[in-house]
């Protein structure tokens, strides 16, 4: 049953990873503008003008 110590350790590690990902997302400002990025990703690159 000592394997439970290891399993809990691993599960906590995964959880910490997700916590870290969330904190990073907040830190990088992803929760400050929840509208513009959704629009921005739909913009297409302009075809180059033929000279």
């Amino acid at each position: 049953m000592t394997i439970i110590f290891l399993l809990i350790g691993i599960s906590l590690l995964v959880a910490l990873l997700f916590l870290g990902a969330f904190l990073w997302a907040v830190r990088s400002g992803q929760y400050e503008d929840t509208y513009t990025p959704a629009v921005r990703m739909l913009f297409e690159d302009e075809p180059e003008k033929l000279e």
Binding site: A15, L19, R27, D33, Y35, T36, V39, F43, E46
Partner: protein, 807 residues
């Protein structure tokens, strides 16, 4: 004779750029007959974008542009070259890169975002531009070696996204949204989730073997996981409770902190003495749910600002006239006695005497009056007006901060901290809660101690734990948060959720007149003079539709679209406009401009006259009057049944009779009120113990709006300036004011009903606690059920109230 030019159904082509109707012979681009433009301004923007291969702008949204209205003025942005201005505007500055954030209220669609983020194609010196659409902000980075701030702003103005650069932006810190709540929520969710997993073995009897082997380990691990929740997430509750205590005031966060502390210390004690697993799952869950409550309540309208004062409206720089010539200086440095020049569409920054030029000053931001006021040389011009017409020369009489209008902000009402907020119900209830809890806790100790000292301690902590008013603390955020969203859909935008509670307890409504009760968009136009034929009226329409003057636009809207083509258009600022329409010379403007004598009966203050001449012969004049808003009588009658009404206006008492009829006999009507008088009146009402809602629109109401318990600023367009207030109401929803106030009262009852529900849970918990029966499992079941049901109940009740009120 009232002139009725029936508006024709529009069969015209829409401008490719802005979507306005084009004149009958639209302006076209050579080689591209499918494109039509309503004016040369729109065409110029199109050409500029086409040259840089930016026509994707027109594909994302149909006709996304704004009609190009403002006339380019040389030297308009010269002040941006000033070192002092630059150093305050730029957020980052190095020889190779400069960065700043500009507010652009005009952005409204996906095309705007696309164009503004492709600025680097229009100006090679710009390295990056990023839009924050919700806040209507643009962050631009540019290379100072290749371009300048002035060039960037001029470019933005040229494509008609002129940024708002006002006195308030100088020295302002870049807007940093609070990320703290997100951090706290993340940590609490992490702690809650993991502690709950570890607590599972305790919930089920078949895992007893597991518990025997690992109970101690799980206990310690839970303690470790709950520690960051206590230190990071629960911190704001302790801080708020401590702040309240320091002001000798017990708020709802005090019993919460008490409960949380009891919960945590009991759990630590249990783990240390190996008596059990503790209540860490309840503890982390409570903190998590209460933070969700805070988050729901925090909903805010990013693009709206509720804290604006005159500095958000006043310009950054002004043209100073010195012996050496014109010079751009910061408005803050302006001193009495100096001479300044104010051009067309510029704002008068300080009280001054007019020295040269014909003043025609638009005070719509100050008083709500849309019709510009004429000023002659030698008259005093108050700060805040916008000159329409030729350039003026003014001599400054008072410094900016000492002006007739601006000294309003020196009043103590504007010292934000000093203003006591109305106590919310939750805090009020919180105080009784503390008293009751402590009595019960001490009572149970006294009861148990002689029999079983161990049990006494347990009952004491149990009472403190279960009495933690977590469900209670969730009622207000969820009810008010839901109400905030309902009202937002109906164009009433509140600064925060607490405003609803204050609104529901108001008993006095104070209105401003001009711009609030009167509708500047709907002022009726009446023609008097010779009978104008339909064709002549259309000729006048063709002329006025070319002018950007507010009176011309009002007339153009009244006369409807026209088929005539205008030639030889000329505008003499401050006097009038002239042109030739279908061979007939037409002149529209002041009496002197037309060459006629004003009639003996002078127009009243509410009435403005525009004279018309056809073929050089005076034909008559248009009277433009101010008009009360639609449904005003019904609205005021309904409000008058419940509220004490009052009216404050800067105008004279010419309209006293119709106003008395509207407001009824009991209402107080005050005329010729200065901005400071309005503030003092609201203050006097409050000293009589009244709870005042002020409804106003202009800068001259700013003091009263700030002083009132709830200040509602009315606005025609949301992006426009509105003074500091607690709520912003779109003018179109003004007729709903009575319903909104009733809904606010409904919300209060919702909160009270939800209080009862949460008290039931506390009652059940307490009955368990005083008997010493509160086990970790009982607490782990009761806590989430009470929290969740309170959230759902509060939200549903508010939705139902909104549905019933048809909001």
């Amino acid at each position: 004779m009232p002139l009725t030019a029936a508006p024709k159904p529009s069969t015209q082509v829409a401008c490719t750029h802005c979507g306005d109707d084009c004149p009958d012979e639209p302006i076209q681009l050579t080689g591209q007959p499918e494109l039509h433009f309503c004016c040369h301004g729109c065409k110029a923007v199109y050409e500029l974008l086409a040259a840089s291969n930016l026509c994707g702008y027109y594909r994302l949204d149909a006709q996304p542009g704004q009609r190009v209205k403002t006339v380019d003025l040389p030297g308009r942005f010269d002040y941006l070259d000033l070192e002092s201005v630059q150093s305050q505007l730029l957020a980052f500055r190095s020889p190779t890169l400069a960065r700043l954030t500009l507010t652009i209220p005009q952005m409204h669609c996906a095309s705007c975002i696309w164009l503004l983020e492709n600025l680097f194609k229009l100006n090679a010196g710009i390295s990056e531009s990023r839009v924050n659409f919700l806040r209507k902000e643009l962050t631009v980075s540019y290379q100072p070696a290749a371009t300048s701030l002035k060039d960037v702003v001029t470019l933005l103005a040229a494509i008609n996204y002129e940024p708002q650069i006002t006195l308030a932006e100088l020295g302002a810190q870049p807007h940093a949204a609070s990320r703290r709540l997100y951090y706290q929520l993340g940590v609490a969710a992490f702690g809650f989730g993991n502690v709950m997993l570890l607590a599972f073995p305790d919930y089920f009897s078949f895992t007893e073997g597991l518990h025997a082997a690992f109970g101690r380990f799980f206990g310690w691990l839970s303690l470790l996981l709950a520690l960051p929740v206590l230190l990071v997430s629960a911190r704001s509750f302790y801080q708020s409770a401590w702040q309240g205590l320091r002001q000798r005031y017990i708020n709802l966060d005090f019993p919460i902190s008490l409960g949380l502390t009891a919960l945590f210390t009991t759990s630590v004690f249990d783990v240390l003495t190996q008596r059990g697993p503790g209540y860490f799952d309840s503890f982390t869950g409570l903190v998590f749910f209460m933070l969700i409550g805070k988050w729901v309540q925090q909903h805010s309208y990013d693009a709206l600002r509720f804290d604006r004062d005159f500095t958000s409206y006043f310009p950054v720089a002004v043209t100073l006239l010195t012996k050496a010539g014109e010079q751009s200086v910061s408005v803050k440095e302006l001193q009495a006695g100096q001479r300044i020049r104010v051009r067309h569409q510029e704002i008068i920054p300080a009280d001054a005497v007019l020295r040269r030029g014909a003043g025609l000053i638009d005070y719509s931001f100050v008083s709500g009056e849309s019709v510009p006021v004429a000023k002659a040389v030698g008259e005093v011009v108050y700060a805040g007006g916008r000159q329409v017409g030729e350039a003026l020369e003014l001599e400054v009489v008072r410094e900016v901060s000492q002006g007739y209008l601006t000294q309003l902000w020196n009043n103590p009402a504007f010292e934000k901290q000093a203003r006591p907020t109305l106590e919310t119900y939750a805090n009020h209830v919180g105080r009784y809660f503390v008293a009751l809890t402590l009595t019960l806790a001490v009572g149970s100790v006294l009861y148990w101690y002689p029999k079983d000292p161990q049990m006494a301690l347990r009952a004491f902590t149990s009472v403190l734990i279960i009495a933690c008013p977590c469900a209670l603390s969730l009622t207000t955020p969820f009810a008010m948060g839901a109400a905030l969203r309902v009202l937002g859909r109906r164009q009433l935008y509140l600064k925060n959720a607490a405003v609803i509670e204050t609104l529901s307890r108001a008993d006095t409504l104070v209105f401003d007149k001009t711009g609030t009760l009167t509708d500047t968009q709907r002022s009726p136009v009446r023609f008097s003079g010779l009978a104008l034929s339909r064709a002549d009226a259309q000729r006048v329409a063709a002329l006025v539709s070319q002018s950007t003057h507010p009176l011309s636009q009002r007339l153009a809207a009244h006369l409807g679209p026209t088929d005539f083509v205008l030639e030889e258009y000329a505008e003499i600022p401050g006097q009038g406009i002239s042109g030739v329409v279908a061979g007939t010379p037409v002149r529209v403007g002041s009496a002197a401009f037309i060459g006629t004598n004003p009639p003996a009966m002078a127009p009243t203050e509410q009435q403005t006259r525009v004279y018309v001449a056809l073929n050089g012969q005076p034909a008559g004049c248009y009277d433009i009057r101010s008009q009360y808003r639609e449904n005003l009588p019904a609205l005021l009658r309904e409000l008058g049944q419940r509220y004490q009404l009052a009216l404050l206006t800067g105008d004279n008492d010419a309209e006293v009779i119709p106003l008395r009829q509207l407001f009824g006999a009991g209402a107080e009507l005050r005329f010729q009120q200065s901005p400071l008088d309005k503030l003092a009146y609201v203050e006097a009402l409050q000293q009589q113990g009244r709870r005042v809602v002020m409804v106003g629109d202009g800068l001259n109401d700013a003091g009263a709006l700030q002083r009132a318990d709830v200040g509602i600023a009315l606005t025609e367009t949301l992006t426009n300036f509105s003074p500091a207030c607690d709520a912003i109401l779109e003018a179109g929803s003004f007729g709903r004011l009575a319903t909104i106030l009733r809904f606010a009262r409904d919300c209060r009852y919702t909160v009270l009903a939800t209080f009862l529900l949460s008290f039931c849970y506390n009652g059940i918990g307490l009955s368990l606690a005083v008997q010493g029966l509160l086990t970790p499992i009982a607490s782990a079941i009761l806590m989430p059920i009470s929290s969740l049901s309170v959230m759902v109940f509060a939200t549903l009740l508010v939705r139902y109230a909104a549905h019933r009120r048809r909001l």
